[in-house]
């Protein structure tokens, strides 16, 4: 029973080749077979989060049918897309198209992983704020699909009237607490160590300047940090006062704020459309109002825009561009995404159709006055210091809020300058 190694090797080789050939059997049938679908055969790899992927199933199917392209949708966690694209795209095996947030654009461009999208005449079909959010350094880098921002959500049982002023809001809130109807005058979900500059920004904006200076064309100027300007320092002082009075409370995390408002313990909360479903489920009667100005100027929130980008390393740039400008920019896709996530659509036609929904109209009205969150890469230098300083001021650890704020702005300026 001695087998020579050579014979065995030959046997293994023959078997292996057969198996390898079988594994290759999945390649598409030869072209030229008559079918109803148009000639195509292109492929498109798209990274989407689960929500949008299921919302777009119909649109993707239409796209496949009309163009003969095969779309491979890869479901990813929304927050991981930015880093994964940055690290994987240069290998050439990455996606053609990804979904993302507009404030990623600066970093993605800096890393050279996304390319411009020429909207052409389509640009005027979108809400202005959506296109300006997608614009970086004078070029548009994505097709916007939804717009989101925060606003004041009011429990109409506890506060029947929209507050006219900030003092009005505080007075109503405190009265509700004093009468025992409520436990908190206002709920803003923040982190005990890092506060939340995003949720607090409308209040900050009402005192003064933006975080960066704004160029003539509406873009942010990274060389002009405005975080330490006079208005923002006044905000720091107000923040200390609110912290001491318990209007802004470090111990109320996002989850606690949502849960407390849903259980009816506060007349007001500052939040986005993503929490409305929980409020409805809890049976809270609510209304959406603009945030009253605390410092005299309009309390404008940051507007966030989500959209689709094309990878700089896309293997199928033409199909990707077709998919974005002809399908994602279409009303069907925009409405489908809106219906799955309750964020207002970016396409004006779909946006207006969605206005019949009171919630969307309410948030939309507040967002219309808002400014896009800066999408310049320098913005990343702000969040952490900005947040920890806010937390220290609210918690009372910063004896002199104005000094703490100015020191923070100076430090960020140093990081940016160096």
């Amino acid at each position: 029973m001695k087998h020579s190694s050579l014979v065995k090797a030959a046997g293994v080789g023959a078997l292996a080749l057969t198996l390898a050939a079988c594994s290759g059997g999945g390649t598409p049938a030869p072209e030229g077979t008559e079918s109803a679908a148009p000639q195509g055969g292109g492929e498109l790899i798209v990274w989407m989060d689960e929500n949008r992927a299921s919302a777009l199933e119909g649109v993707v199917a239409t796209f496949e049918e009309e163009t003969g392209t095969t779309v491979e949708v890869i479901i990813k966690d929304f927050n991981t897309i930015r880093d994964d694209l940055t690290t994987q795209a240069p290998s050439g095996d990455g996606p053609d198209v990804v979904v993302g947030a507009h404030d990623w654009i600066g970093k993605l461009v800096q890393n050279g992983v996304i390319q411009q999208v020429e909207l052409g005449d389509l640009a005027s079909d979108f809400e202005e704020v959506a296109v300006s959010a997608m614009t970086y350094d004078g070029s548009v880098y994505g097709v916007p699909v939804s717009i989101e921002n925060i606003a004041l959500v009011r429990n109409t049982a506890l506060a029947p009237e929209a507050p006219a002023t900030w003092d009005d809001l505080v007075a109503t809130g405190q009265a509700a607490v004093a009468s025992g109807q409520a436990e908190h005058p206002l709920l803003v979900g923040i982190d005990p160590n890092n506060a939340d500059p995003y949720h607090l920004y409308p209040l900050q904006a009402s005192f003064g300047g933006p975080v960066f200076g704004i160029n003539e064309d509406g873009s942010y100027n990274p060389d002009d940090l405005q975080l330490g300007n006079e208005g923002n320092v006044q905000f720091a002082q107000a923040l200390a006062q609110w912290g001491a009075e318990g209007i802004i409370n470090l111990n109320i995390s996002q989850d606690i704020a949502k849960e407390q408002f849903a259980s009816g313990t506060s007349p007001y909360t500052i939040t986005g459309p993503w929490n409305l479903a929980d409020f409805q489920e809890a049976g809270i009667e609510y209304a959406i109002d603009p945030i009253p100005s605390a410092g005299g100027q309009p309390a404008t929130p940051f507007v966030g825009v989500q959209g689709f980008f094309i990878s700089q390393y896309a293997n199928n740039p033409i199909v990707a561009s077709q998919f974005l400008t002809e399908y994602i920019a279409g009303e069907e896709a925009q409405t489908a995404i809106f219906e799955s996530g309750q964020r207002a659509p970016a396409l004006t036609a779909a946006f207006e159709a969605a206005q019949s929904n009171e919630d969307v109209a309410g948030f939309g009205a507040v967002g219309a006055a808002g400014v896009p969150m800066p999408n310049i890469p320098e913005m990343d230098a702000l969040w952490t210091d900005w947040g920890t300083t806010e937390a220290q001021i609210i918690g009372g650890q910063a004896a002199d809020p104005a000094a703490a704020w100015t020191a923070m702005a100076k430090k960020i300026q140093g990081t940016l300058g160096g």
Binding site: A9, T86, P90, D93, S139, N193, A381
Partner: protein
């Protein structure tokens, strides 16, 4: 015979996968990887087909996995530690150049939209463009657009679809050559400053102009709008004479720069030292406390006089059955200053800042970690205790030893022999216990006076994570260098500890 057939089939399967993988790699021009797969496959075949080589037959699969999942990862991390890989230094120089040129290519404002058809001739790919006024032009990358005679053109509505002397590309061909078409730039005229036509969807084209020009011979990037020249000074980026840097750079090897960073930035270095000390303290205290708590419970629940042992044992093991993520999140809620169960109910409305005071936050993370860790220690101590023969205790009692003497002189040393290696691995685990810190405090509260985002409860591993994935700019190079530091520390501590364990064994 059956065994031989099975072996051949399995080997064939492995080869089939390898052949398939190699064909995919070759299609993607990945020759190096394909070569590696080929060598490994040949090696595997040789090992299993040749008679003898018995040890190799057992070890080969393990060695391959070791190489893929350990050696490769370590070597790659080591390589990254010597580069400037991170935000703005993401890929190769060629990629950076095309990205910079692409970023600075903009549509000429107010320029018309051309309807186009992609065409081809011996001169290469070209665009057949119809202007909004109805003029039909054709051109290639080298040959600027020029008007064609009306008689030569086939029109389809407002769009020219074919022209004599050129082949129109069908959808199929367009899809095959997408990258080529997307990169095609057809100049409007001989003067490059007039701009060029480019199409992104093969049916419409816009007039673009590029403000940045790369000069290959001089290796410079010129901003034609301002005339500033940017040079590659060996820092992985283009820099102008007055120190302005273009945002998109590329990866280069920077030598020991990342390792020297903490020394060149004393404040970061100082923070790093305090993080290092805390990491040691956290790992040692966590292991120590959970070991003694586990040991105490094991002794108590191993005592024959103890009643309903089973119920107690189940209760003690419960935290071990919890996923640590979840455990940490629950504790995060419990420790909230105002709404948490601990302050609110247990302490009757106290206002203790469990997670926001620098020292209390440290205590809190240790408490939570001990809660998560003691059941494991309890289990191994219980097992070890039960394996110590009763005769030893009996013999000692006969000789007149007290209970404490029996425990400290006989049981504990024996216990250490079997548990010491586990304590060392537990130390290594806690040294890198990312989950609990990240879930509870995210490293906070933040240290005052340090530029970088370093917190009082940051372990080295969470600091690495913050450096690599959060904050101003992702810096994979520095993060890798810190990872290597962690590796060296853990390896050194473990080696010394294992040596001492051996000594312990010899004692007995």
């Amino acid at each position: 015979m059956k065994v031989l057939a099975l072996k051949l089939v399995l080997l064939a399967l492995v080869d089939a996968v390898a052949v398939f993988a190699m064909s995919v790699m070759l299609l993607q021009d990945d020759y190096v990887l394909a070569g590696v797969v080929l060598v490994v496959t040949l090696l595997v075949n040789w090992v299993y087909l040749s008679p003898g080589l018995l040890p190799a037959k057992y070890l080969t699969p393990g060695l391959i996995f070791l190489a893929v999942f350990q050696v490769f990862v370590i070597v790659y991390t080591l390589y990254i530690a010597f580069t400037n890989y991170g935000d703005g230094h993401n890929s190769t120089k060629d990629d950076a150049i095309s990205a910079i040129v692409g970023q600075n290519t903009q549509r000429v404002e107010g320029s018309p939209v051309y309807q186009v058809q992609v065409v081809e001739s011996l001169a290469g790919l070209g665009l057949l463009a119809t202007s909004p006024e109805g003029d039909v032009l054709v051109g290639t990358a080298e040959q600027p657009l020029e008007e064609v005679a009306e008689g030569d053109v086939t029109m389809d509505g407002p769009r020219a679809t074919a022209v004599a002397g050129w082949t129109s590309l069908g959808m199929q061909d367009i899809l095959q050559r997408q990258q080529e078409i997307a990169a095609l730039q057809v100049p409007l005229s001989d003067d490059l400053a007039d701009g060029f036509l480019r199409t992104t969807n093969a049916s419409q084209a816009f007039v673009f102009e590029s403000t940045f020009v790369y000069d290959e011979a001089a290796d410079t990037m010129t901003d034609s709008a301002s005339g500033i020249v940017y040079r590659d000074l060996g820092n992985g980026q283009f820099e102008s004479g007055d120190g302005q840097v273009l945002g998109t750079g590329w990866q280069i090897v920077v030598g020991f720069e990342n390792f020297l960073y903490p020394f060149e930035n004393p404040r970061y270095g100082g923070a790093l030292v305090s993080v290092l000390l805390w990491t040691f303290a956290f790992a040692i205290i966590s292991v120590g406390l959970s070991f003694f708590l586990g040991l105490f419970l094991a002794i108590a629940l191993n005592d024959p006089r103890m009643k309903s042992k089973f119920a107690y044992r189940v209760l003690s093991i419960l935290p071990y059955a919890f996923p640590s993520f979840l455990g940490a999140l629950v504790w995060l809620g419990l420790m909230n200053t105002e709404f948490g169960f601990i302050n609110n109910v247990l302490l009757g409305g106290a206002d203790i800042p469990w997670l926001t005071d620098p020292w209390l936050a440290k205590v809190s993370t240790i408490i939570v970690n001990v809660w998560l860790g003691f059941p494991y220690m309890f289990l191994i101590c219980l097992g070890a205790l039960q394996s110590i023969p009763e005769e030893l205790t009996e013999a000692a009692s006969v000789d007149g030893a007290t209970g404490w003497q029996v425990f400290s002189g006989i049981k504990l040393p024996l216990l250490f022999v079997s548990t010491a290696p586990l304590l060392i691995s537990s130390f290594a685990f806690n040294f890198n216990n990312f989950n609990i810190i990240y879930m509870l405090t995210r490293g906070g509260p933040r240290m005052a006076g340090v530029e970088e985002n370093v917190g009082h409860t940051d372990l080295l591993i969470t600091l690495v994570y913050k450096t690599a994935f959060e904050g101003v700019g992702r810096d994979y190079g520095l993060a890798s260098a810190l990872s290597i530091l962690i590796f060296i520390i853990v390896a050194t501590v473990s080696t010394i500890a294992f040596r001492r364990t051996k000594a312990l064994e010899e004692l007995n």
